[in-house]
Amino acid sequence: MSIKGMDIFNDKIYISDTHGLKHSILNLQGQLLATRVINSTYSVYKRFAHVNNTFFALNFDEEKSKNDFIFTVNPDSLSKQLTCLKFSEIKHSEDEIFSDFIPTFPGELSGEDGFLAYVPQIYFGQIYLIKMINNKCETKTIEGYSSLDFPYTKVAEGQKYNYSAGDIKVQIEQSSISAFIQKKGKELIHFFTTNKNAEEPLFIETEIFSLKTNKSIGYGKIDELELKNGTKIKNPILIPKAKDKNDLYYVYDRTKSLPAIRVVKLE
């Protein structure tokens, strides 16, 4: 099994499996409730997420309909319902490397307080925000601060790289990690990294937007981790993977050689 997408919605765990070519639905005890067999890896959904009672999936099906990129799905049959974001609506969707990497490194979806946020992993500086209004999708593009003119460099054979898709090797210099809605729908926070070469230390950068104006209200990095025992660690490598309703972040801490999962508040 290779878990490509996962979400918990209405007390069920939804998993997409690109190697086993299936979508699976489990109960919260881990028992399998249903499996939908898929006949092509292109058709396996790459991400799941939900907002209130609407269940979403992301896929880039090069064989059938690559324009149905983010869409609502029926939570029982997992069939497509309403397309909310077409691939062609994404800025730089015509960039060859970007579209080659999307099926493997699509970026993260997250939903809360009426908003679904999506950021492609190769980060050109755009964040897509979807809101359901009267059973229709309203999609907005938020312009983030992208310090680089271009987020990746093609790498020649023998040179160091951080991502590959097939024979193509690239150094992705600006990479999105995740984005979450915080402060009860008032703000969006985006976590990303800027890494011009593989030798540079990794910093977790953040940008915060007001969802009232869709404008940036802060840009910086996570510059310190204070552990429960009082130890302070400078420039920690914390990968935010989830957030709860109290704005606590569930982070994968890669600062040391032994990884840890910590629950942190950000201030």
Binding site: D7, Y145, S216, D223
Partner: protein
């Protein structure tokens, strides 16, 4: 002489205005206000060595409505439920 000076002055004024209205204003390159964040640990899930042997690199961390935490790595035979 005076006319050519004023023409030159007008040209400079136009160029400065264009610079202010386009290049100087920029689009997404205008740096937002600086705001670094500090992470304060509330608790840790599992201990480090346990976690390494149990889940490897966690691909997904998800919460249910009750706040239970579900962790899955990218390649696994079963889901880990803490």
């Amino acid at each position: 002489m005076q006319n050519s000076f004023f023409s030159f002055f007008k040209l400079c004024l136009i160029l400065v205005s264009i610079f202010i209205l386009t290049g100087c204003k920029g689009t997404n390159k205008q740096k937002p206000p600086s705001k670094n964040l500090k992470a304060i640990e509330v608790f840790q899930i599992g201990n480090e060595s346990d976690l390494k042997s149990i889940v490897g690199v966690p691909q997904f961390i998800k919460l249910d409505e009750a706040g239970n935490i579900y962790i899955a790595d990218a390649i696994t035979l079963e889901n880990k439920n803490f």
